[in-house]
């Protein structure tokens, strides 16, 4: 691997930048691997990296039906936070935030993690009660979160309109200062490059078409559009397509796939210092380093695999953005797009073994999987390598829906998130 540093940039720059090599190999499938990850997004590439790095499994491959980072990893609004209500969630998401903090150094790849603060707005008495409850629960779990008055919120984010006469006035906010954003493409590329350097094969344009099981029902091979690949362990990280992939192995899941849309504005000079979220009026906004306002909406109402949704969803979000930040009213939006998110009934993920021996699944991240990329990949790798969950992901099973141990962040936040 060619390490990146200021010195290497200057040295190669002075010699015409002709000595750079591709950051990872264009691998073709071998006949067999010790483990295969299905899905080349951040979660899957990260799992491959941690399998090689922390568990010594280097004869492994990531297979991706399209190109790496082309699904939800490249389609999200890059918000990172860990201010979830329940103990299980706080442990999982904060594990991830801690890994984000030095991820650029660990991967030798600038993922542009920017802990600029995530502020969640309260617009009514219920919001205040819910967010204050989150603040207290988070602090009990060692997760930073603090309550701000409307005036303090405006001080932290000057564009915010705290006028009392708007339809949903800002009554206060919860602020997680360790939260922020990162560059989503760089996360996929950084993990891919680091995994490749450890010997992991990254195989694009390779779609799973079936699973082959042995006499005991355990996985023994994966059928793909690029041939049969033998392996005893398969980890599926396929986001919105998880139901389809696991359906090929006869496993049903409590998932529904919805379109989730986002949009960006024309680029402007730095004007917006943090991330602001409003669950109540469905608006999520930050400014990228390129200058675009990055805006996230809620999901469309119906299940779909189309990677697009209705324009009225975006319009609704922009109504909210314009009321909260009047200075953006005359800005033009450049692009909008959709991704397909797999949502569980309790809005918490599943990172677990499946009823099929050798088949593992990391799914159900719904509308908020990007923030969890390093933590989820890390504990998923553990689960695959040791055939048992890490203590952090032990509660996130499929069986919790049968046994009644929901991790009900849906009820805690009253919205998908």
């Amino acid at each position: 691997m060619q390490r990146f540093s200021a010195f290497s940039i200057i040295r190669r720059g002075l010699t015409g930048n002709e000595s750079w090599r591709p950051q990872w190999r264009r691998a073709s499938p071998k006949a067999s691997y010790d483990a295969i990850i299905v899905g080349g997004g951040g979660h899957g590439l990260g799992a491959a990296y941690y399998l090689a790095k922390e568990h010594g499994l280097t004869n492994i491959a990531v297979i991706e039906k399209g190109w790496i980072g082309g699904g939800n990893t490249g389609r999200n609004t890059t918000i990172i936070r860990s201010n979830y209500l329940f103990d299980e969630s706080a442990a999982l998401y904060d594990h991830s935030v801690k890994l984000w903090e030095d991820l650029s150094q660990v991967l030798n790849y600038n993922v542009m993690f920017s802990p600029r603060g995530v502020m969640m707005l309260a617009h009514n008495v219920h919001d205040i009660q819910v967010l204050k409850r989150h603040v207290h629960a988070n602090r009990c779990n060692g997760v930073d979160n603090e309550w701000l008055s409307a005036e303090q919120a405006k001080e932290f984010c000057p564009p915010l309109n705290i006028s009392p006469d708007i339809r949903y006035p800002v009554l206060g906010a919860a602020l997680q200062r360790r939260g922020g954003t990162a560059r989503h493409d760089a996360v996929a590329w950084g993990y891919a490059r680091a995994a490749d350097a450890l010997g992991v094969d990254i195989i694009e344009n390779c779609e799973v078409t079936g699973f082959q099981k042995d006499a005991h029902g355990a996985i023994e091979a994966v059928q793909t559009t690029r041939g049969l690949i033998r392996t005893k362990k398969v980890g599926v990280s396929a986001a919105g397509n998880t139901s389809v992939v696991l359906g090929l192995a006869g496993v049903s899941l409590p998932l529904e796939s919805f379109p989730l849309q986002a949009l960006v504005s024309e680029p402007i000079k730095p004007a917006f210092p943090c991330v602001v979220m409003s669950n109540t009026i469905h608006a999520y906004i930050s400014q990228s380093d390129k200058g675009e306002l990055v805006i996230g909406a809620g999901t469309d109402a119906y299940t779909s695999y189309t990677q697009r949704g209705g324009l009225h969803i975006n319009t609704h979000t922009l109504d909210a953005i314009c009321e909260l930040f009047p200075m953006f009213r005359r800005m033009q939006m450049l692009r909008n797009w959709g991704g397909i998110v797999d949502v569980t009934p309790d809005r918490s993920p599943i990172i677990a073994k499946t009823p099929v021996p050798g088949l593992y699944v990391n799914c159900g991240w719904g509308t908020g999987g990007f923030k969890a990329t390093p933590g989820s990949a890390n504990v998923f790798a553990w689960t695959i390598a040791r055939d048992e969950p890490h203590p952090i992901n032990a509660p996130f099973t499929i069986e919790r829906f049968r046994d009644g141990f929901l991790i009900d962040e849906a009820a805690a936040a009253a919205v998908a998130h």
Binding site: S257, T303, G310, R402
Partner: protein
């Protein structure tokens, strides 16, 4: 925005409708007789079809009635609508979006 054919009112914009999820999930007649797996399947497991999906819609801002629809989730085209209680219609396999 989808244009949805209410079987009672005709074509109306999606904003008038509420989505009701997977169709033909009948509430068990004797819930107490179900074991935990069966109860979880009823409550939580969904087909999440990539392709033709039978689903419920309610014309919430119109006649307020539930009905069922077949929609291709890879294109969002509606292939058929039918009233609650009717059997899922067979589709003409030659295709064609109505």
């Amino acid at each position: 925005m989808l244009l949805i054919q209410c079987p009672y009112c005709g074509p109306r914009p999606e904003l008038e409708f509420a989505y009701g999820g997977q169709a033909h999930i009948a509430r068990p007649l004797k819930p107490a007789d179900l074991n935990d797996d069966e109860w979880a399947a009823f409550l939580y497991m969904r087909v999440n079809t990539k392709g033709v999906h039978a689903e419920r819609w309610r014309h919430a801002r119109g006649c307020n009635r539930f009905f069922n629809a077949l929609r291709d989730t890879t294109t969002d085209h509606f292939l058929a609508v039918y009233k609650t209680g009717e059997a899922r219609p067979a589709l003409n396999t030659a295709g064609g979006h109505s």
